[in-house]
């Protein structure tokens, strides 16, 4: 049925026939056919009326010069001349109405196309401009041509890389990946890609004789160019030949121009992101490079942090409320990479302080020299006594005893100098006793064997750092915060400073620099704190100890959990999710990996 049948409304036609009735001889049967359908009739006689009826008068109705229907009149005997006149009049009116409707529809169609394009642009603009990633732009663009929208069988967006190489970004259709890869290798593609922007968009509705791929029967393409740059190519294909219309091309043109602008923005954004990320990586690497002992720390902490964050994201139990989106993932990763960036202002000799007497250099050498002086004193004393003719046996015996004592004392100090040694009260007494001894220079001036500063450092209870140095080290967290506060993070990354700055906080509030308790520390902050410790405990080498095995690292962390230093729930998750093992497999030496009975630690 042609649309012409809809041009004339039945209600209007009935009225028209009613008005025509007095003009016709009584008994005239009347009917209107339009688009192969009978639209109106005068009465029962009219109902049976067709142009096959003998004696029927037919008045053709046309559209654009083509006959689309007819007004039929069957005059009663002798009424033919009157019927012809009235029929001409009636048909002229109907034809005029048809022509007017036809024109009105053409205008309305044009207006509707405008509506369509505007709606398309509005809707597509939301999606396309919302996409900050080139791949997302490609996806939003292709969505406008798939089954539901335009009905293309295949669609693809290629991106041109710097060297002009085309990279397939996104595609749809049965076996599309493969088909578009082959298409990209075809001569035909090389032809349209070579100067895509200048050559413009086009349709080839019969690909049978062209060297493309057998899946494609018709092809439509539209270059994606913006600011004079050839960014990519939109390709649509149908399996059948002769499938694409001018309307399809218009759609591709409209959306293509918008997509190209969005693609350009997305590519700029991606480049900015890459730039920023590389800065972050350079800073992390620089901090790592600062100490030979902690190398790789700032690269490995993010690995653990992200594994643990993803585990929390998947968790349906304790962390059911914790969900990550892409921006939050980025925030956590950047925070983990930069968590120690405050160490740029920490003097290296403190970061690397391997022994208690390390300063700019290890002062144990000075102490060793002084002991050597005392040994010489002892030797000279013996020789003086031997020369003086005294009891030579006792002189030698005394000398040996003095030497042994010196060796023992020095060995004791050397041991105390190591950070792994815990220093007891008895040790402190012995250090003081040794310090109180004197050595003399060649002018006979006496000096204490150990300076006050040396005694102070040797008395350090735990590790190698004295309280002042520990403070300087701890200041790095505050420096991290101060540094990150200077960075103009975008909204999505506004929590980076908190996540990074809180990595030495303890759950019971005894950490630094804020001294916040667990409930005031965000989950990402707690995650980075745990990652920091897990990395440090499992790192291959540290100044004053051999690397821990996995089991002993986790044992130490379990004590930290019991002491409310680290978050117990995250510690449990580290174990129950298997993240500890995943990380160990990737980053620890085989010799460090032993069996961990996680049941011993979980939940308690």
């Amino acid at each position: 049925m042609s649309k012409a049948a809809r041009y004339l409304k039945t209600a209007w036609l009935s009225r028209q026939f009613e008005l025509a009735r007095p003009l016709l001889p009584a008994g005239t049967a009347l009917a209107l056919w339009l688009g192969g359908k009978k639209l109106a009739e005068s009465d029962a006689a009219g109902a049976d009326l067709s142009d096959a009826c003998p004696g029927a008068l037919s008045f053709a109705l046309t559209l654009d010069g083509e006959v689309v229907g007819a007004l039929l009149l069957l005059p009663p005997a002798g009424g033919e001349a009157q019927c012809r006149r009235a029929g001409d009049f009636l048909a002229h009116g109907l034809q005029g109405m048809l022509d007017a409707e036809h024109a009105r529809r053409a205008i309305a169609q044009e207006a509707l196309e405008g509506y369509r394009e505007m709606a398309l642009l509005q809707r597509a603009a939301l999606e396309l401009n919302d996409s900050l990633k080139p791949a997302a732009v490609a996806e939003a663009l292709l969505k406008e041509f798939d089954d539901r929208k335009m009905g293309a069988d295949y669609g693809a967006v290629y991106q041109f890389e710097a060297e002009g190489k085309a990279q397939l970004m996104r595609c749809f259709g049965a076996g599309a990946d493969d088909a578009f890869d082959r298409f990209a290798d075809s001569e035909f593609f090389a032809g349209i890609a070579a100067d895509a922007a200048k050559a413009g968009a086009d349709i080839v509705n019969d690909l049978s004789s062209l060297p493309t791929v057998p899946e494609f029967g018709s092809l439509l393409w539209r270059p994606l160019d913006a600011h004079g740059k050839n960014l990519g190519l939109l390709v649509l294909a149908l399996q059948r030949r002769g499938g694409f219309t001018a309307g399809d091309m218009k759609r591709a043109q409209t959306l293509g121009s918008m997509a190209a602008a969005s693609l350009h923005n997305a590519q700029l954004y991606a480049a900015e992101q890459k730039l920023f990320q590389s800065f972050v990586d350079v800073i992390a690497a620089a901090i790592d490079a600062k100490s030979r002992y902690t190398s790789g720390h700032c690269q490995r902490v993010p690995k653990i942090a992200m594994l643990l964050a993803e585990a929390a994201h998947r968790d349906e139990g304790r962390f059911a409320q914790f969900r990550l989106d892409e921006e939050e993932r980025k925030a956590i990763e950047i925070a983990a990479k930069l968590h120690d960036c405050g160490k740029v202002v920490t003097p290296e000799w403190i970061v690397d302080k391997a022994t208690k007497l390390d300063g700019i250099f290890n002062r144990i050498g000075l102490v060793a020299l002084r002991f050597e002086l005392l040994r010489r004193d002892a030797l000279m004393e013996r020789d003086r006594r031997l020369a003086g003719g005294g009891d030579s046996a006792s002189a030698v015996r005394d000398y040996r005893a003095r030497l042994r004592k010196l060796d023992e004392d020095f060995a004791f100090l050397e041991k105390c100098n190591q950070g792994a040694e815990s220093v007891s009260a008895a040790h402190v007494d012995r250090i003081r006793e040794i310090a109180a001894r004197n050595w003399c220079d060649s002018n006979g001036r006496a000096f204490p064997l150990l300076s006050e500063d040396e005694v102070y450092n040797l008395m350090v209870q735990r590790g190698t750092l004295n309280p002042e140095e520990r403070k300087i080290i701890e200041d790095h967290a505050a420096h991290t915060i101060a540094a990150l506060k200077q960075i103009a993070f975008p909204r999505a990354l506004r929590n980076v400073t908190e996540y990074a700055g809180g990595h030495h906080e303890h759950m019971d509030g005894t950490g630094y620099p804020w001294g916040l308790t667990r409930e005031r520390l965000s989950i990402p902050t707690r995650i980075i704190a745990i990652a920091d410790i897990f990395e440090a405990l499992t790192a291959p080498d540290r100044p004053y100890r051999k690397p821990n095995t996995l089991n002993s690292a986790i044992g130490i962390m379990h004590r930290m959990k019991l002491n409310q230093h680290i978050d117990g729930e995250l510690f449990d998750l580290l174990l129950s999710s298997g993240v500890y093992a995943d990380y160990a497999r990737e980053h620890l030496a085989d010799s460090q990996i032993d069996d961990v009975d996680i049941g011993r630690y979980l939940g308690q």
């Binding site: 809809r6 309305a108 169609q109 398309l120 809707r123």
Partner: protein, 124 residues
Amino acid sequence: MKTIAIVDDEVHIRALLEQTLEDLDDAPEILTAVNGAEGLALIERERPSLVFLDVMMPLMNGYEVCAAVRKNPDLAGTTIVMLTAKGQESDRARGHEAGAHHFVTKPFDPDEILELARKVLAAS
């Protein structure tokens, strides 16, 4: 045969909607009314499956027509789509209150109208 009513005082909206809906398969009958009162009478008489109803109209506005239709149990099978002006989000709240099922902003997207009409007619 299914029936669709268009109730809008603007002639060009009626014409454009009508033409859009003519693209539907099965050629449902499309009736029009030029104001709220005429629209309500048309709906009560013809019981269309689907009504496109303008908000701002003389004699009776779209909310009133909608509320009257919803109050009539005989018209429970009539789906009402309100045509709201762009940016008038408050219209939607009032339309919901009056019992409208769907909303389309003017200028409308012809494809959206067609999709909606197909869905409603298939379900009715």
